[in-house]
Symmetry: C2
Subunit: 460 residues, 2 copies
């Protein structure tokens, strides 16, 4: 563990002088609100700075360099990988109050925002201009654009629209040195110079603190329609997904739930099949009404060809809402039912989804856990929810997770599709696969020295 | 200028030992084939190495480090910015012979290729699987995927499908140190670890030599249809483009030609308007037949609303071919007509296209040049073709270009949309705008030291 300096009274007064006393939180009761994200672990910070300007962020980081205290940037704390947890104490730098939508430029199809803006708030704001900001992490009504950018967050719509990365044209960030830089462009197209923008995106705050984002917007799709299909085997469901994509259909969501998930949520659906089926697909397409209706019929046929026992259309928003309620309820009900609940999130090549899910039962027996899997079948991003009846089983479960992740890497997959590395996956042995490296790791990156390396005592 | 070692007999024999004599070209007559790209400038290399494996690339770069001779990587030499010109002599490293399509994985919707594969060859190969690789630079029948990746090349389809960057899921590259690294993933989704992939993409060979690419493929669109619209004013044409995009239409091509271009190519079109109009738009949509036909009618109406004098549909491939012939013929005819022809390529925010093109006439008078502009109106990428009756005017013309680029940057634009920086734009003063920096420049990049910086004598 690196050696950091505690926040001494001298350092505290310097920080207050640099960022203003109003931006500093010290009371233990308030500090507790910043000790954890949406995951399991927690660690109390010594201090919280709520920034309202890049200048404050810069000033704080310059002091962090001078006095060697750790700084952990934080969006709205909805992460599941512990990236916002101040593992070494020190200062939590909250961007929550930098939450202004600075501009929506309809003619240029861009929006300029501060990092603390809630994702759904931006979606709603651009919707009023008939524009669309697609990235839709499950927590979109509580998470921040800045956090989305720091982890390249995605959601169901990734299969058609891509992750946050695809919508950040440019950004302003404060480097660990305190230097404020701009990267990227304001134009639809921008290919000149080193792509520092993408280096900062997904770096989970380890290379810099994002203080402004220039986002790409697209025209809002006219309409959206939904279909659910129930399968007697998970493999058939996955075959349907592959067939659908290969035959030229690109839905804006292709979600799956396994039999375990259906067991605990099937009662929410008005179909008997929901409880009996071994897998369910939720498929959505967006675009021109008449077209997507036709497309949905074709997709329904593909599902039946692949052995679906039933296909149900949900054209109206009410039915849509009920279907998505299931997807949301799964996590909540798992939470209620099991003392131990570990969220895992992995990606495998589309063609390998069934193989991976198929071998989960083996892990259950071996490690005394019960696994509920659901997720984004369209891009191979699977949420593996590991549970046990007793919290004492955590060590065994963690052991199982490490081996699960090894399996994923051996399939050419990656160890996170949305949640990121944070502190949760720093120690996964990746057999040298770059895709599995934690940002701090140096293997395969010897030619590119990150600020974390050049300033080893800096915890940005 | 950095001090490099010439290729001495000792170094030559070491190179031959490391990469094999068969891979080495020495005869002056053959070396001449590698002295220039598709632009104006030229510089004879001392030696050419035609690599067929990453191992050879690695061995050559290790020697380059040991003996300090420059190495200039080269794809198929179709660039216009001089990026492949061996400005300091030394070795040109040709990737032309690494031209195998290693695999097309239909189930995973990816292709794995070597950098020397011709872009059109890949498009045709995946087309046979009913898959689509969208990036379509004008030179797609002669340029290489590796070169496309090194410059993030794009073409008309960018407006809908994005540049090469969006289709490279992962890559293998040899760093200037000789180390062979992998970056990125084989999955549709991959967000963990620093994004070294995007750092290498667009770095024009200055950070490493790309030796393998894992490409994302999408289902092939069912059909494509084309429309041309003629306008009495360029501004009306651009208003039509903005209206179209803002109202939710995303064509797969939105090209414009100005009046100058129409003057010299109008005779190729069977429409009187072609010679009289001040601007022409070529608009294409792809997707389901009936839908895009309807969409085209709406787009045609939008053009008329914005003052188009005529809109002509070109549903069949024959008419399409004639229309695209114009777009291609422009450059050829300019080349024939003018002793001096400088290709410029810039990007401005969509809303500013008309402003920029509007001020080109002013540059003509001031610098004694004649400017033909055409390009990708849909994403603000304009090809500004600068000509003069006398090659002696080049200095004045270059002066004009520098001021044009300053104008572009002042509009929030970038100094290249496709051609890259190469040697052509190393010296443009960018007033600190990162988007205008040459990869070798250090401003705004002080926190990220590139191999070019850590090894100043390395010309990778």
């Amino acid at each position: 563990m690196p050696s950091y300096s505690p926040i001494t009274p001298e350092i505290l007064s310097e920080i207050k002088g640099a960022v203003g006393s109003d931006a500093v939180i010290q009371t233990t009761e308030k500090l507790c609100e910043f000790e954890k994200d949406a995951g399991e672990d927690a660690c109390l910070p010594e201090l919280v700075v709520e920034a309202t300007s890049p200048r404050q962020v810069s000033a704080l980081l310059r002091l962090a360099n001078r006095y060697s205290f750790p700084v952990t940037p934080r969006g709205l704390g909805t992460g599941l990988a512990g990236g916002a947890i101040p593992l070494f104490g020190g200062v939590v730098l909250s961007l929550a109050k930098m939450n202004r939508i600075l501009s929506i430029e309809k003619d240029n199809l861009i929006a300029v925002v501060e990092p603390g803006v809630i994702t759904l708030d931006l979606q709603n704001a651009v919707r009023r201009e008939n524009l669309f900001y697609p990235p839709d992490p499950a927590s979109l009504d509580t998470c921040s654009i800045g956090g989305n950018a720091a982890t390249n967050a995605g959601g169901p719509s990734c299969v058609k629209y891509g992750t946050t990365r695809e919508y950040v044209l440019g950004l302003e960030a404060v480097l660990p040195s305190g230097e404020i830089v701009e990267a990227g462009v304001r134009t639809r197209k921008g290919v000149v110079g080193y792509d520092l923008r993408h280096l900062l995106l997904g770096s989970e705050g380890t290379l810099g603190v994002i203080t402004k984002l220039i986002l790409k917007l697209i025209p809002h799709p006219q309409t959206i329609t939904t279909l659910v299909a129930f399968f007697p085997k998970l493999t058939s469901a996955m075959d349907a997904v592959t067939a659908m994509l290969v035959r030229g259909h690109v839905p804006c969501a292709v979600e799956f739930l396994d039999d375990r998930c259906l067991e605990i949520t099937g009662d929410l659906l008005p179909f008997e099949e929901a409880r009996l089926a071994k897998a369910m697909l939720i498929i959505e397409t967006d675009g021109v009404q008449r077209v997507i209706e036709e497309e949905m019929e074709t997709i329904g046929e593909i599902c039946m060809e692949q052995g679906a026992v039933n296909v149900v259309m949900a054209p109206d928003s009410l039915k849509r809402a009920r279907i998505w309620e299931i997807r949301r309820e799964v996590s909540l009900r798992i939470e209620d039912r099991f003392p131990l609940y570990l969220h895992e999130d992995v990606v495998v090549p589309i063609g390998k989804i069934a193989d991976l899910v198929g071998c989960l039962r083996g892990f259950e027996g071996e490690y005394g856990i019960k696994i509920y899997s659901f997720g984004h079948a369209g891009d191979g991003n699977i949420h593996v929810n590991i549970t046990a009846e007793d919290r004492k089983c955590r060590d065994r479960a963690e052991e199982g997770i490490v081996n699960l992740l090894k399996k994923v890497l051996s399939m050419g997959g990656t160890i996170s599709g949305e949640h990121g590395i944070g502190i949760a996956k720093k120690t996964v042995p990746t057999d040298g696969a770059l895709c599995g490296k934690h940002p701090h790791s140096k293997g395969n990156q010897t030619s590119l020295r990150s600020p974390a390396d050049t300033e080893p005592r800096e915890n940005i």
